[in-house]
């Protein structure tokens, strides 16, 4: 085994924080792959460019996705990372494991791959970093025996991902874990067998705090919300009033000025019609306030990072939908969205970009959704109204 001189990587071990370089060195004690990875990374820093080839198509039988091919640009110099493929493994809902399961994954990966992981990637999956083409199928078989399956990659449905939801959080407006599991099982084929113009991501947050950042990172963002008034417990308001300034931390930071605090009575009043669900008051006064009683989710469409067009945040298409098994209304809508997108999109065009190109009216006609005021992305910003010919003839 070569011991590479790595002055630049060494820098990344200095400082009080955990270092991935330290982890790599630890792994390199038992893995020639990790050792060559260190060597190639140092060279990358020297040359200021990535030394992986672009693309690569590898996989396991019956699957079109879940494995991402990686080949070194310098296979002679770093033979142990000549092939360094990534496997995406579907994470359990809410990322809950027991130690036994984690140990099993670690044992498999130490035997079959580099022993290096990301827990978890941006899609939510467990990312197994680095193995050879020959070890892909055997690794998959072992993971399979432990009850694991691959996640999505390429032009497929990416592994749906959700926040911890009601398992650990009192704000969850519906069972995010159950919905995530249900959609994952219902849409297996779409995940494992890429058939679309491009990727499609679904992320699920139980409340508007949006802990999985669904609004910024998913084509279909499902974000918990409620109807009706925020529930207020005035006795608890008095306790907060005794220890800190409600006006300073809550009243004055309410974005729509919908929060009123009466310092004489030590009571809170909320103008619920003007509440935009920013969660600030609820987060600041969790003992006094909680989401309204009628709970469900808002559906938003089109979030993505920059590719054909700039980064988009998702925008509302359904202001409120009940989220209860078997989620038929949601699945029907998803089906319609996919049909329209798959039929109309150019290669590498995300749903948000397609709507941008074709216009919201066409999207609404295709999906049968009614136009509602909540869809306006920037209220009061656009004075023009475009009428459809049918509307004019009415």
């Amino acid at each position: 085994m070569t011991e590479y001189k790595t002055p630049m990587m060494d820098e990344l071990e200095k400082g009080p924080w955990p270092s991935f370089v330290t982890e790599l060195r630890e792994a390199a004690k038992g893995s020639a792959m990790a050792e060559d990875l260190i060597g190639q990374m140092e060279k990358s820093y020297e040359e200021k460019k990535g030394l992986w080839k672009h693309g690569g198509i590898v996989g396991v039988k019956g699957y079109g996705s879940g494995v991402i091919g990686r080949y070194s640009d310098l296979p002679e110099e770093f033979p142990n990372v000549r092939e360094f493929h990534t496997m995406r493994v579907n994470q359990p809902g809410g990322w809950f494991y027991n130690t036994e399961t984690l140990k099993k994954i670690c044992d498999i990966w130490e035997e079959k791959g580099s022993g290096l992981f990301n827990f978890h990637g941006a899609t939510g999956d467990i990312i197994l970093l680095g193995t050879t083409t020959a070890e892909l199928q055997p690794t998959f078989d072992l993971l399979s025996e432990q009850g694991f399956d691959l996640g999505g990659s390429g032009s497929a449905l990416r592994t749906p991902s959700s926040c911890v939801g009601p398992a650990r959080c009192e704000w969850a407006c519906f069972d995010t874990l159950d919905l995530c599991y249900d959609l994952t099982m219902a849409f297996q084929d779409y995940m494992h067998r890429p058939a679309w113009p491009y990727k499609f991501k679904i992320k699920i947050s139980g409340c508007p705090n949006d802990c999985v950042a669904a609004i910024a990172r998913s084509d279909l963002s499902i974000i918990g919300t409620w109807k009706g008034p925020i529930q207020v417990r005035q006795e608890a308001v008095k306790e907060y009033a005794a220890s800190w300034s409600i006006d300073r931390y809550v009243t004055n930071t309410c974005p729509t000025k919908a929060f009123y605090y009466d310092d004489e009575k030590k009571e809170v009043r909320i103008d619920n019609a003007n509440c935009v669900r920013c969660m600030n008051c609820i987060n600041k006064m969790p003992k006094a306030l909680k989401p309204g009683k009628e709970r469900g989710a808002s559906l938003l469409i089109g979030g993505k990072a920059t590719i054909l067009r700039s980064a988009f945040m998702s925008w509302v298409i359904v202001p409120f939908m009940k989220m209860e098994p078997p989620y038929t209304e949601l699945k029907d809508l998803i089906g319609k969205i996919w049909d329209w997108w798959d039929e109309n999109a150019k290669s590498r065009e995300r749903i948000g970009e397609l709507i941008y190109r074709k216009g919201m009216p066409e999207f609404l006609r295709a999906t049968g959704l009614p136009a509602v005021p909540q869809m306006v992305r920037q209220p009061r910003a656009n004075p023009y109204v475009f009428w459809d010919q049918d509307d004019l003839e009415k």
């Binding site: 690569g56 198509i57 079109g64 991402i68 091919g69 390429g154 290669s347």
Partner: protein, 104 residues
């Protein structure tokens, strides 16, 4: 990946087993690549292969999966039955089309 040996011919393959030079493709080559994928080519396979090559000749690009399913009348599951590595890694490789480029 090692070169593909067919009789006294030796064809260069890239890491993923795709032909480096698409011009070298013929039916014998298809059979040899199919063997690396553990696929025995039947008339059903050939129908797909001919379709892919025809499409590529016309448009210089592989069809999108949806287009391929519509044109061939096959379902996604049937394609994976025929080509277990799928339409890209399996069918396009055997048909001698250039490697599909894609994002992870």
């Amino acid at each position: 990946m090692a070169d593909l040996k067919i009789g006294d011919r030796s064809l260069a393959l890239d890491e993923d087993g795709f032909l480096e030079d698409a011009e070298e493709w013929d039916e014998e080559v298809a059979n040899a690549i199919a063997a690396t994928e553990e696929v025995d080519l039947t008339e059903e396979h050939w129908a797909i292969i001919r379709y892919l090559r025809g499409y590529y000749d016309e448009f210089q690009v592989a069809p999108m999966v949806r287009k391929m399913l519509k044109d061939t009348g096959k379902s996604q599951a049937e394609i994976y039955e025929l080509f277990p590595s799928g339409p890209g890694k399996g069918a396009c490789k055997i048909a001698g089309l250039p490697k599909p480029t894609g994002c992870v």
